[in-house]
Amino acid sequence: MEYAIETRNLTKKYGALTAVDALDLRIKRGEIFGLLGPNGAGKTTLISMLCTMLEPTSGNAKVNGFDISAEQSAVRKNIGIVFQDPSLDDELTAWENLDIHGELYGMQGGVKQAAIGDALKTVELYDKKDELVKHYSGGMKRRLEIARGLMHAPAVLFLDEPTIGLDPQTRRRIWDSVKKMNREKNVTVILTTHYIDEADALCGRVAIVDHGKIVACGAPSKLKKKGESLEEVFLRLTGSEIREEKGGSTQTMRARMRAWNK
């Protein structure tokens, strides 16, 4: 029970493509851990497996001590997640979204109300709690998703590119609340981001992932050679060619819808 995350030979194959390749990873309790890698490197697939959304092809993993295949329900109770793509109900208010979340995680009455209030205050959305989410800006939606991921006080919090497309002010605020959660409630945080300097500043350790394998893992300061930035380390290890990520019809559709809503 020492580790928040412990994977052994964790593998996910889609036909001929190996998205996650015999991955061994250990993340200690209370760490802020960054998963870095180019598009299609397998970060989201890895997180999906750790969140019980995807069955591994082979290998196994434990999240907060619970097996992701055999103890799915226990794993789900112990984690919070902010997905890469939006996952709010636009037709409901912020409060209603969190209310549904609270009930799904077994919270009731005053405890639930307090948790919703606290979560909304943490991301400074309490004043807008009764507005429909579809009237929120992109940054506000993101903050609301983070509030939702935190509100049931998970032991492990997954953040899959939580700051993508946000302005520096909003990014700063989001990272501040993540740090606060980590410090005050000892929440283990596993995040992915393409803003390498943010990962450098925030994470105790990072893993650079490419083609489903970990190519480097450790404290950012230890990965850097003399005078190098973490981004240079990243490029040195993963090359500078641009990756294509396969998108299903769902993703293209969603992108189209997003374009509409603008």
């Binding site: 997905f83 793509d85 996952s87 037709e91 409901l92 209310d99 799904l104 077994g106 019809s249 769902t250």
Partner: protein, 251 residues
């Protein structure tokens, strides 16, 4: 215990979304009202010499139509939840897939019945009125029809990638089911081939049951209508639950 809460909260969500979308309610009531008002009145006067009232005859058929269309349309909500991502939020929560489907089916059935009830409440203004005990008996059929077709809608949605395919289903499955159900004409004196098709159509039994309850005349006995529909309802609930679960766990 948490499973029951999950069913309740997802049921509540469907209701909340339903009352928010006022234009959708108005839109869904348009077609059945036109059917009643124009087709009903038109054919009523065309057959004015014969026995019986055509308006009264199609009224249960129109209720069945509202129930089936609005119920199957719940599949669209499932597809939208998947496309806009909310489904992931539910799937990663510590509740079983079965509770999620149950909550969705009960929520969808409730909103369908509510829409049918609005149509029923408007019927007296078109000269069709039913007694209370008949309406209570018809309610049993309304519940079965709506649960069955929400289940079917979710089953279909679990097999679809996006919304475009769903429109195809509405045209090639739901429309024929409606026309073959005896909603608009009696099924007793049909040519053999058409009669067989109507007897295969599960909606036939729902509409016949409602017609028996509301107007006192039906083509088949109550227990046949009820039995076939109850069986179909159970089967569709199971199919919806099975395909939804399969879609959200099998990758």
């Amino acid at each position: 215990m948490n499973e029951f809460t999950a069913i309740k909260v997802l049921w509540k969500r469907e209701l909340l979304r339903f009352v928010r979308a006022k234009s959708r309610i108005a839109g869904s009531l348009g077609m059945p009202l036109f059917f009643l008002l124009f087709l009903g009145t038109g054919l009523n006067s065309a057959f004015s010499g014969t026995t019986g009232n055509y308006m009264e005859f199609i009224a249960p058929g129109i209720i069945g139509m509202v129930l089936m269309f609005s119920s199957v349309a719940n599949g669209l909500i499932v597809i939208m939840d998947r496309q806009f991502g909310f489904l992931k939020e539910i799937l990663v929560a510590p509740v079983s897939r079965l509770s999620i489907v149950a909550g969705k089916i009960f929520g969808g059935a409730t909103t369908s019945i509510f829409q049918a009830a609005i149509i029923m409440a408007l019927m007296p203004f078109l000269g069709v009125s039913f007694n209370l005990s008949g309406m209570l008996a018809a309610f049993v059929f309304m519940v079965l029809i709506s649960i069955a077709f929400v289940g079917l809608g979710i089953a279909i949605a679990s097999k679809m990638e996006d919304m475009h395919g769903f429109q195809l289903v509405m045209n090639f499955l739901v429309m024929p089911l409606f026309f073959l159900s005896g909603a608009l004409f009696p099924i007793t004196n049909l040519p053999e081939w058409l009669k067989i098709l109507t007897l295969i159509d599960p909606l036939t039994y729902g509409i016949d049951g409602m017609r028996g309850a509301l107007t006192g005349s039906s083509a088949m006995p109550f227990w046949v209508d009820f039995g076939v529909l109850a069986l179909f309802c159970t089967a569709m609930f199971a199919l919806g639950a099975w395909l939804f679960t399969k879609k959200s766990t099998g990758n």
